[in-house]
């Protein structure tokens, strides 16, 4: 009971404090620089300069502390030795460029970046569109969304029951092999099957992320003004045309957002690889390589160097997003 009270109190204080800041700081600005009276013009200009930063303040502070600061530290560490003490110049970068596992990870990451965002967005769009047209759509949505809600450890067991391989003569407990044997085929050790095993791991992430894409895209589809669709129905467009010519262009921005988000998530993916193969059988990816060097080998220098590569890979997406943002502002 005591814990319950403490919990509610902390929740209220935490949330209320946040609301109070925004409300209070804006009020303060209005009081300090009233948009009335003789100095109204000057005050309005001044408060227009200050107010964005009141809005942005907490976000910028938290981002700076929790994300920018670690980035700067990683850059520094990438020039240092395993324990992060001695300056070693470009040694870590030289090591990376001569490491076969690094290239393997880079190539695998490339495939992940191509396949997973495309497939998740595609299936998410299909799911969002189709479930909007049927009576039990909400139930269907929830079921497709469920993988997102399952904890990762749960998901790794789920997929063990899909890909498991017992060898010849054993009773298969993986459903794919069971079906294969039922059809008279030979069972396969799926997760060791280079190079296809990477794709089997990608399926897991697609399975999880489709729910994300579906939820966001579904909200966007609902946002399309009814009149637009009604008008095109009156013009005699068939559902196929309505979908591709009317709906998709309307939510193009949202599709891009979903795609970007999943792409970035893919860059960071490591738990699936860690739990299923640990990067063996040629399935290593950059984030898991970083994790290995950081926590298995305790080499902060090399881990940071790999982390920086992951961060550099996001640059094209950043540039593209800036250009989009600029276009909106015009």
């Amino acid at each position: 009971m005591e814990q319950l009270l403490y919990a509610s109190a902390t929740i209220i204080v935490g949330v209320f404090g946040c609301v109070a800041y925004f409300y209070g700081s804006n009020l303060l600005l209005d009081v300090a620089l009233p948009p009335r009276g003789e100095k109204a013009g000057r005050n309005i200009n001044l408060s227009n300069m200050i107010r964005p930063w009141l809005f942005l303040g907490p976000a910028v502070a938290l981002l700076g502390l929790y994300l920018v600061y670690p980035v700067i530290r990683s850059i520094d560490l990438s020039f240092r030795d395993a324990s992060g003490d001695a300056w070693v110049g470009l040694d870590n970068y030289r090591w990376m460029l001569s490491d076969a596992k690094f290239y393997e990870s880079l190539i695998n990451n490339f495939w992940w970046l191509i396949v997973v965002p495309a497939a998740s967005t595609f299936f998410g769009l299909i799911a969002a569109t189709l479930t909007d047209r049927i009576k039990w759509g909400n139930l269907a949505k929830s079921l497709i969304f469920m993988p997102m809600a399952i904890s990762f450890v749960g998901a790794s067991v789920i997929w063990k029951f899909v890909y498991d391989y017992r060898g010849t003569g054993g009773d298969e407990i993986g459903i794919i092999n069971a079906i294969l044997v039922g059809l008279g085929g030979q069972p396969q050790a799926w997760i060791t099957l280079e190079p296809w095993n990477s794709f089997f791991l990608m399926i897991i992430l697609i399975w999880i992320q489709t729910g994300f894409a579906m939820v966001i895209l579904s909200a966007a589809l609902r946002g399309i003004p009814e009149e637009t669709i009604e008008a095109s129905i009156l013009d005699g467009a068939n559902p196929w045309q309505i979908f591709w010519k009317i709906k998709v262009p309307q939510i193009w921005g949202t599709i891009a957002v979903v795609w970007t988000t999943i792409t970035i998530l893919v860059l960071k993916v490591f738990d699936i690889v860690l739990a299923m193969t640990n990067g063996q059988w040629g399935s290593q990816v950059l984030a898991n390589l970083m994790f290995d060097w950081m926590f298995r080998a305790g080499d902060f220098g090399r881990a940071s160097t790999v982390a920086l590569v992951i961060m550099v890979l996001v640059t094209p997406i950043m540039v593209w997003n800036i250009r989009n943002a600029r276009r909106e502002m015009v």
Binding site: L4, F161, I173
Partner: protein, 378 residues
Amino acid sequence: MDNIAGQKSALGWAVNIAVVALVLLWTIPTIGLLVSSFRDRDQISTTGWWRALTASEQNVIVRSAPPDAQVAEGDLWVIAGNIFEDGEGEVTAFGVTSRAPTALTPGTVGEMSKDRTMTVDASGNYRITSPVEFSGSRGTRIFATTLTPPQFTLANYDRVLFSEGIFRSFINTFTVTIPATVIPILIAAFAAYALAWMEFPGRALLIAAVVGLLVVPLQMALIPLLKLHNQIGIGKDYLGIWLAHTGFGLPLAIYLLRNYIAGLPREIIESARVDGATDFEIFRRIILPLSFPALASFAIFQFLWVWNDLLVATVFLGNNEEQLVMTGRLRELLGSRGGDWEILAASAFVSIAVPLVVFFTMQRYLVRGLLAGSVKGG
């Protein structure tokens, strides 16, 4: 007219079938876990989960009653009993040695070493005879091929739901999750509005920075930040984990919300400005209500992420009774070397309950189509 109606219903069928196929593909793996959560460990690792649904033929090794249970019948010593614990099941074959476990048909008599014999009938009754008294402490092995009806157990759920301290951890998780969901949304919504609709130098750069920060690997941030928390005296407490989850969740929140808010019709905001509304009023009266679908969808994701998180919780929060979260508590049920899949399966479904409730609640806001209505009105 008929033609169009016919097309429509055909299309409706096609859509329904497509969704059924999609849903099946997406749920079959999860169903496997659900079924497994009602099976015991040996069943999980010896037969596929789909076999649990029907009566299945299995080769089992059963031990007879121990020698204490023997009775003398004439010049023979006899141990008798039934191989099924609950008396239900059917024997289709049996054997007396591991070399030939399915060699004999039920009802026939198998010869064993030392002039012993064994017979098992179709209903599982066995009878082992020996010319000399049985000795030792354990029964004889009986190899049987049985057809057993599906068997399920609630033991896994029993262990998870009634494990010590689970309620406390449930409360702890809520203490972490609710502020760690609400605070980033609030902060991000304000920031997103500023980035979308306020003019100030450096705006594009900030947007790019937010996208760039999305990719920062969490692992790189753990040590320096925990060090910082320790140095400024937050240590391992709730305040620390709220801040950490807020920091890590902000880039995605700002990115998603900014894109949504930037897409709101310009006329609404401009006309409010002309009417003399301040930015704070515009935000509170117009942006917030209009952004409900976006806020709700982000709330779902942040909630899920925090709810299922173990890494951030173990780093920024203590492992003691007052602070241990659900994911940490469930982990303690597992053995040191993993492999307790039955517990993993049951706990996955125990911990998914709350996120699904959240999803159902939030779904109302996702589908309202607020924007469409307001455009018409505005």
